[in-house]
Subunit: 289 residues, 2 copies
């Protein structure tokens, strides 16, 4: 009999997971149910739940701060403790969330799981990379989903897709940079589906969780504006370029597609339209209060 423990179950990705696992024996915990940073808590949780499968999505993710926060070290440590306890208790398969920030960001080709050098530019990326190195080597069935850019309902309102959608829906001007960077975006619900597919597969090691389809951000913003019907308010190029960002950040998604057998359920345009609909509903709910 299998039993799945999901951490980060109230987070941006994790909130979609329990529904995708319906009908199975699932224990889904957010920070209210389990403070994994507290001493002994990871061990206690494993001992209580005795999971055969672990989908560990919890990590520090505060917008604007997570890139360089020392709290990444706390999560690296807590994750090592969690996976170690999971293995000690006979856990079968662990799937953890990694990041595109583990890769060197100075390449023009799509990032590949084994061919692209792992030279993180950020502390977040360094701690994720470190965590994978330690946890993967503990043995047992193990996969590591490297998440690229994602968007969708419940996104932090200051992040790119959310903030532009909200402005346009509010009838406000949305000035952006030239947005020539090429990015790989996936709707958060598809990211959650990919993690469940990864959990159900026996693919080992790192797997990019991404569309594999790089688009200049200006095109993404154009599609987003079209979904709101307010293309007139989008002002691409009105803000100066931000330094230090990689020009191209796109996944080679071959492993996810061919080995895991995953395909996104929606196109980028459909995902953006869904997201706009969700933000429209949010605004209506606020208005109606």
């Amino acid at each position: 009999v299998s039993r799945v423990l999901v951490t980060g179950a109230t987070g941006f990705i994790g909130r979609h997971v329990p529904a995708l696992l319906e009908g199975r024996d699932v224990v889904a915990v957010g920070s209210r149910e389990a403070d994994l940073l507290a001493p002994g808590e990871a061990e206690r949780l494993i001992d209580e739940v005795r999971p055969t499968h672990l989908l560990h999505l919890a990590w520090y993710a505060e917008h604007g701060r997570f890139w360089s926060s020392p709290r990444n070290a706390d999560w690296a440590e807590a994750t090592i403790r969690l996976v170690r306890a999971f293995r000690a208790a006979g856990g079968e398969r662990a799937v953890l969330a990694g990041t595109c920030a583990e890769y060197a960001w100075d390449r023009d080709e799509p990032s590949h799981e084994t061919r692209t050098p792992l030279v993180p530019s950020t502390y977040y990326g360094a701690c994720k990379h470190a965590t994978r190195l330690v946890c993967e080597g503990l043995g047992g069935s193990f996969a590591w989903g490297r998440v690229f850019l994602l968007f969708g309902p419940h996104e932090h309102p200051d992040r790119l897709v959310a903030s532009v959608a909200r402005r346009l829906l509010a009838g406000e001007r949305a000035p952006t940079t030239a947005a020539t960077q090429v990015r790989d975006l996936l709707h958060v619900q598809d990211v959650a589906r990919a993690f469940v597919a990864l959990l159900d597969s026996d693919v080992q090691g790192p797997v990019n969780v991404a569309s594999g389809d790089g688009r200049p951000l200006r095109d993404v913003l154009g599609a987003l504006a079209a979904a709101t019907g307010r293309e007139d308010l989008l002002e691409v190029g009105a803000l100066p370029q931000r330094p230090g960002e990689p020009e191209v950040l796109v996944a080679d998604a071959t492993r996810l597609r061919e080995e895991v057998g995953f395909a996104p359920a929606r196109t980028l345009e459909a995902g953006l339209a869904e997201t706009v609909a969700w933000w429209r509903e949010q605004a209506a709910t606020v208005d109606a209060r």
Copy 2:
């Protein structure tokens, strides 16, 4: 006022350190004084000692097992906790022991701190690399000494230099492989001196702790045999080559020499002669019992 906390102080390298720090405020702990793997122990130790300087040498090092043991994960976790507690308590400078096993082992050039890719072939190397990534990013003055091959008194009797020395001193034949691999060896007392020099410098980041002088192992064995006076018993090439070993494992020691200002106190030949003298004494002590 500065106060130094030394961990691993009863280990192969660490046992030489307290004497090198004589006259300073030093707390040196081995596993008997502090079990850093026990929950809360790293934090308690920092709270008790309140060090301004940390020289962390403790790690799992059981001969033949440390390369792939899951205990490397325990030490990665404990080290993160120790350095985090050290930083939280206002610690100034931390120096930790890394390893040549962090580097990719398929290169023919000397391993360089920043130019050689960090692609560990072993779990030991992976956990050390992971630990550096997490601990260095916690901020503060930080150096990471990557130890290459070492030898000297108190070496595990089954390791290469020790085992060949003991056999020859006992008048036994010492068959070895062709030993064509090129290696970088440093006497353990010089390794300890290098760590103290690193602690006293303000050099930041990874620094190779090595001679920078690559020698075919057969030449090292020849010098060792000469020091015993029993070259007749050394049978280089009598055993088959072992697979999976890198041909060349040599450090670029420029940073250690020029930035830290360190030079070994003895040549390889002198270090081997000292080591032979120590083993001879050990054998005499055993005989006299």
